[in-house]
Amino acid sequence: MASRRLTIAGTVLRRLIAALPAAGFGLASAHRRRAAFARAWRLAFEDLGPAFIKLGQLISVRPDEFSDELVAEMQSMQDAVPPLPAEAIRAVIRAEFAREPEELWATFDDVPVASASIAQVHRATLARAYTPVWGTELPTGTALAIKVVRPGAAESIRADVAIARSLAERVARMRFARRFDPVALLDEFASTVDRELDLRQEGRFADRFTFDFRDDPKVVAPRIVWPTSTARVLTMEFMTGWRLNQLEEARAGGVDCYALAVHGATAFMRQVFVYGRYHADLHPANLFVTPDNTIAYLDFGIVGFLTSEERMNITQVMAALVYRDPERALTYSANLGVHVPADRVATVREGLGELLGGTFRPDGTRDFAHFGLGFLKLLGENNVQIPSGYGLLIKSLATVEGVARALYPEIDIVETAKPFTTRILGQAMGDPARLHERIPAAIRAAMRELVA
């Protein structure tokens, strides 16, 4: 543990020293200095492996606590690592099933199709027909993706988290770190990673997603083959299509990118506002467009869950953005735990009003990312604590907007959200508890109007 601590400190120090020329040895402008050191932190995190790559991804969704430069740098964090030899992956499969891959599947390809910090993916084919949790039977010979947790990944991540936590406890005692709580950040990180390391949780969410979108043939997710899945091995349908950086090929293949952009954004709204459970790790590698004009969601390692109360409050905040209503945004953000101190309310309301009025791009569409990340920053500047999950959701919505705009640059995600938020809030009017709470005031208002 002591040697790992030294490795961590040494790597960070080496990268920071290497960034000194780019930072003008401290004499460059503040922005240039911050950008140079942010890049150094990102490179150090990539060098230090899975735990730090994941931690960087968490930092990338907290613009309220970290500088713009660091957040932007961490957003570009590459979670692609050299693949492990097939024998190491076969050893994991053998340890999980006490069988060779060829006994579990009709074929198993030793060459991986993807390799990330936590897991590696190999192709295989289904040996026997299987009826998944939802949907039609998968016939013998179905193409499969086998996701295998890299050997030692769980142990090294947990060890690194323990070291990082002890360092964070020291940092937390220092005066400059009062604005954010590094220990809470690491605890949030540890629970996210723990969930991600048990692939069965990802499989269960994928099944639930397939069920949630059962009435929508344009949105699909891989279905899980449970007899050959464990905590460290997940067997699922192999999805083929184009990634978002291959859109020219997709268009040439007859894909209607505008329809898919609208549909993809709508599908995400449905996850958040209707179901209260959503894919929280959307990036171009986790989405495919397929030749038959569908969107395939992959990799449900990081998901967000909302209680029905949170869902309703978030819908209200979104409605505030749609209908440009800062008061509504502040009221319902408070219900979500965003408590603005009394002496800051006027400042925050004014800043929020400016953000709501200034979220238009030159083409007249609204810019959710500008609003969402600006709102988080505004709260941070006013010393408002952001509850866990709130930043993640805003970042997820901003990512969905980015993904939709990659498909179709003129899409207005706020306009896409309008029917969802309006309908849900309209439907909520019939909630008996709400009626009980609001009807007396409504009757008083009606009477005032009648006697006026």
Binding site: E96, F97, A98, R99, T131, P132, V133, W134, R200, R204, D207, R208, F211, R214, I224, W226, P227, T228, S229, T230, A319, V322, Y323, R324, D325, E327, R328, L356, G357, F360, G364, T365, R366, D412, V414, E415, K418, P419, T422, R423, L425, G426, Q427, A428, M429, G430, D431
Partner: protein
């Protein structure tokens, strides 16, 4: 229940279609209320909601006409969500059992190999 609320307002709007000029104006504002047309604030939300209820009213009209012709209406053709949810839960349970069975087989195989 919640869908019924929208239908309730739609039915109310249908029966007051001719009478309520104020509501008609709200629907119009809500329809036009894109990024440019919306003035913002709580009233804009009410306009947006009115436009949506008006849409629902048109659906209701179509359903009533279809029912008069003896056709099945869209709201009745939808599968019962509670039944669908139950089917999913059974499927999920089966998936878990498949998974546990496989785990047991592995344990047996390991035990046999250790003998």
């Amino acid at each position: 229940m919640t869908d019924d609320v929208m239908r309730f307002f739609a039915a109310w709007m249908l029966t007051h279609e001719v009478a309520d000029e104020g509501l008609k104006a709200a629907v119009l504002r809500g329809d036009e209320g894109g990024a440019d047309g919306m003035s913002g604030g709580p009233d804009a939300f009410v306009d947006g909601l009115a436009a949506m209820v008006a849409e629902e009213k048109e659906n209701l009209k179509r359903d009533l006409e279809a029912r008069a012709r003896g056709e099945k209406v869209s709201i009745e053709a939808e599968p019962d969500p509670a039944f669908e949810e139950l089917r999913f839960e059974v499927g999920e349970l089966r998936g878990r059992l498949d998974n546990i069975e496989s785990l047991l087989e592995t344990l047996v195989r390991r035990a046999d190999a250790g003998k």
